[in-house]
Structures are given as C-alpha cells and as structure tokens.
Symmetry: C2
Subunit: 333 residues, 2 copies
C-alpha cells in the first residue's frame, strides 16, 4: 500500500486536524465525538443541515460545511458509518431553533445510525427530519445497501438545500426540496482501479490491467459488469444511458451535469468525459445549463469517474447559483 | 495504460472542447492555434497576463483563465511546450493597450518559445515582458531545464499578479511583483507512482512497490533520491527543510502554504500533509496565514504531492485575497 500517511489507524484524526488548521475561518472541528461544524453555528432561526458518512470521500462531507451548504458533517472511520452519538452531537451543536435536516446516503449503517440519532434528538425536543439519497442507478441492492446506493446527487442536494435553509425556509420545505432533488437526480460510476482502505492495506478488489468495472460503488462495491477498458465516449454511453432512461428525462429538459473523479482520475480526463457527455445529451435533446466537474465525492485514490444528472427547474437553478462558502465549494462570496 | 480517453492523439483537443463547453461564461477557446482566452478579452487598459505550457498539469493553466487571474493560457501537447504562434496569438487577442506579462515556467522549450513570441509581439508594437518562474529547490539543472524548474509558485504568481493587473497597475509594476513572488516562493515535490503520457502508453519511470521519489519534477523528471516510502511527517520534513533553508525564511515570517496533489493523491492525504507541515513550520517559528490545498499543478494521474511556501507581506496577502473567478480558483465574486 502506497499512501502519504503516518499510521493507518490515525488517518481520519490527522486529516481532521489538517482541516481544522486550514479552514478555521469557515468551520470548527470537534474531535470527540468527531463533528465538523460551521464556524458560526448555531445560526438562529435557520434549519440546520447535517450530513456525514464514512471518510474517504473527501471533500464530501466535511469540505461542504459552511455558509450556504452544511451546518455540520459527521465523519466516520474510512468507509464506515458515523456513530449515532456523532450525529446527535451535530444536531445539538447546530440547533438554531428551526430543526434539523439530516441528509443521509443510502447505506444500511448510515440509515440506521442517522435514524437513531434523529430519535434521540427528537426526544430532546429538536425537530429532526431525515431524507435518504438513493440515486445510483447501477444496481438495486448491493454490499452494504438495501435498494439503490446514495452517491453524487448527495453533493447537489447539500448545495441546493443549503441555499434554501440559508433563505430561512422552514424544515418541511427544505426536506421536501431535498426529496425533490433526490427524485430528479441520478448517477452511475465506473472504475479503472481499486482503492485501498488504509486499515486493510490491500486493494478492495482486483481489476486486470485491461479491465474496468462499470457501475462501481463509492466503497468499491461491485457494479453491473466488468469489461475491457473502452474509449471514453463508450464509457459515457454506458453510464449516461441508464441514467437518462431512469428518471426519465424528456426531450427539452435542462440539467445540471456533474462529472466527478473517484479521486485518482485527473481533470484532463474529466473534461474529455464532459465533452462526450455533452454530445450524448445533445443527441437526446437534453440541454446542460449548469455543470460541476472535479473530485467532489471520491473513493480514496480510486481511478474512475461518475456522472450525475439533475433535472433543473427555475427554483433548483436559482438555489444552485446562490452563494456558498465552504472549503470544497465556493462562489458568490 | 488505463485512462478515460478516446485516442491518445486527441486528448488535449477533446479536453479543450470539454473546457469550452463547460466554462463558456468565463472563457473562450480558440482551437487553432490553441489558446484559452478570458471571455471579456481584451480588457481595455489592463495589462494582459498570459501563461501556458505543456498540457497534463490541469487545472493549470487553462483553469486559471478569468477575471482576477490570467487573460490567456496556451496549452501545448501533453508535457510539451506551446509553440510561439500560440503565445503570439494569445498576446494579440488579449491586447488591451497596456502590454502583456508572460509568466513562464523554467523549462528550456517554454522559455525559448515564449521569448520568441515576445519578440514577435514586440515587433508588432505590443509591449511584452516575460518573467521566468524557477522555484523548485529539488535540483539544479534537470531533464528539460537549465537551472531550477518552475512549479507551484507559478500558480500563486498567476493569482497575485492577476489581482494586481485587475487593479490597473502598469506592466512594470506587475512584472516586478511577479519577480518578487518568484523570489519569495519555493517548492519541492515527491511521487509515489509515475504518470503515463498518453502518446507514450507506458509509465514515464518505474518505482518499486515500496519506493518513492523525492524531488520529482512535474513531468516525472528524476528528483534528488529514490527511497523507501516513509511516513507523511518524514516526507514533509524532506520537502520542507530544503524549502525553508533556501529562501531563507526567518523566524516570525508569515507564509502561504500550498499543499498540492500531483493528480492521483486524494484530498484526505493532503490534509495529513498539511497537518504535519503546520507542525514543522511551527517548530521553525513560521506562521501559516493563508493556504491552498488540492490538485492545482498536476502531472496527469501521478500519485504524490508537492509543497510550496510563499513568504507573505501585506501587499501579497491583500492581492491573494482579492476576488478571482476562474474554473479552477474562485472566490469573492
């Protein structure tokens, strides 16, 4: 295993110290239980947006804490759900009196632990809603997951709902909006290489020198099929066809196209993918009006990419464009 | 070779089309000769900032075109200098009547071709200055380079000089500022893996499963030494010691610390490096007051990182903080 780390057992703790030292103007890191909190939390009268999940997907979620996005993120161990007490601490620490929305990726452990925390917080008198993101069209039921997995749409939901919460909209509206984003977003990913979980010390799976895995999960869960590496345009077709066929998108729809690196794939390849995706969607009569290109929801150093499409209307477009100031996404301020 | 591409010979052209389709609000792509130009160029009365170099280092330089940073970038083939006619086209296309500053990384081909373009443009009546960045303390003279190589400080110079040009400062001042940034910035990098140039189809160099290269260049040029992979804290010491000893930094100095991914190293590892770097500098009495963490000057999918330190004063800090709106760096607008 080749990584720039000191000790597999302290990877998350040390990275959190780095985040704290680098971004103290935007966020505060609580170390026990581990929670990354917006520096000015709690914000009075604002719905608190809270997410989290296993570490190893950076900048998600900790890098999305700040004005216009998340109030708190709960980082678990690498590829391991955060514990209920982390989530409970996040809810209590960010409570501005308007309740909390938990944005949860659909993995069995995450769903269970976030629900447990919601119950605990509810018992403590804080109104809490949880919305589960399940946008991965690759497989139904998977390692760690009943139903579809939650992937790229999570990033978009955190941005869009963050903007709505910032406007002072009530919990019910922000939660409904989150369900709308989940309903309108679909994703699929692929990998050229495995990643290596530090504590495991060896690759999660093996891929031949000429193979790729289509429909991979963000923890290296198996996808739909393993096949010979194909040209980018064919990869785009393999990923985008099931996405477009699923929602279904209509001719004339406008979308946000999110081309994501799994961590080890560089930007130059993502732009080739974006070029092919643009052409693919043009052929279907679908117009990209917003985009996001880069490593936002990663799987450690895995080489590969994912595509997320989110259908847009005026409301979602306006909220996407709203100012955001976090380490991982920043504009308008 | 595993990459998400269509054809090794069209990697740059296709990526440029992707950039054009994705960021048409910020920039315009001219395809022959290839130049990425700020969308509102030429800006009347403003010094034009122009850079460029081989492709494969994205987001540098094309991702830094936009308000507050570059007016144009000239992308060569992968790891290959742009041609004089690309640079000349960039100078002519962005000429707002206040002259042009060419920011050139110190590689023999780049220096030669940018100088030739400066002569051509000068002959055409446009005042042009060129500043060569040579901040890499790893080696003196290298493959492709006489003297020190130009690396991470280039990104910082483009941001800081971009802000100065935006304020309407004259060519002489912006050029002097660029020389000051180059004088105050130092870098060094390391690699865990090689990268693969698409046209070559095989890794640029071989590293054993337990080896790293200290002092690597951004094209995979050999560094200072090859040794067993060490813990992050030791890697930081190996990179930061020659940097700090070189300028030299004084106790009490304030710096911008830039921790960069070579392309294949994920953010979680960069934060571990940042944490170790913070401690290392604290031990030397040097204070980090600004930081930049992420993949900004990359070597395709190479795994590894580099550290750049830039000594700051009030002027540099203010210009660093100034608004910037480019695909790769954006804040304040």
């Amino acid at each position: 295993m080749k990584k720039i780390i000191n000790d597999p057992s302290t990877v998350v703790a040390e990275a959190l110290r780095g985040v704290e030292l680098a971004h103290g103007d935007l966020l505060t890191v609580i170390h026990d239980p581990a929670v990354i909190v917006r520096a000015d939390a709690p914000v009075r009268g604002k719905v608190a947006l809270i997410s989290g999940g296993g570490s190893g997907h950076e900048p998600m979620h900790g890098g999305f804490v700040g004005a216009g996005m998340l109030d708190a993120a709960c980082p678990g161990a690498v590829f391991t759900s955060p514990t209920p007490d982390q989530v409970q601490a996040a809810v209590e620490r960010t409570d501005g009196g308007a309740g909390a929305l938990l944005i949860v990726k659909n993995y069995t452990g995450d769903v269970m632990n976030f629900e447990m925390a919601a119950d605990l917080a509810g018992g403590g008198g804080i109104e809490v809603e949880a919305v589960v993101i399940d946008d991965d069209v690759a497989v139904k039921d998977s390692l760690y997951t009943a139903g579809r997995r939650g992937v790229g749409t999570t990033v978009l939901a955190e941005k869009i709902c963050g903007a709505a919460a910032e406007e002072g909209r009530p919990l019910k509206e922000v939660s409904d909006l989150c369900r709308k984003v989940n309903g309108w977003g679909r994703s699929m990913g692929m990998a050229l290489t495995s990643c290596t979980v530090p504590a495991a010390g060896k690759p999660t799976f093996e891929l031949g020198d000429d193979e790729m895995e289509i429909g991979i999960g963000i923890h290296g869960e198996p996808g739909r099929e393993r096949k010979k590496v194909a040209p980018a345009a064919e990869i785009v077709e393999m990923l985008a066809t099931p996405i477009v066929d699923d929602i279904p998108f209509q001719q004339g729809d406008e979308v946000l196209a999110f081309v994501n690196s799994m961590g080890g794939t560089p930007l130059i390849e993502l732009y080739i993918v974006y070029n092919d995706l643009h052409r693919f969607l043009e052929g279907r009569g679908i117009k990209i009006t917003r985009n996001l290109i880069g490593p936002y929801i990663t799987s450690l150093e895995m080489q590969g990419c994912s595509i997320t499409l989110l259908k847009l209307d005026d409301e979602l477009t306006r909220l996407w464009d709203a100012p955001v100031k976090t380490p991982g996404m920043r504009w308008g301020v």
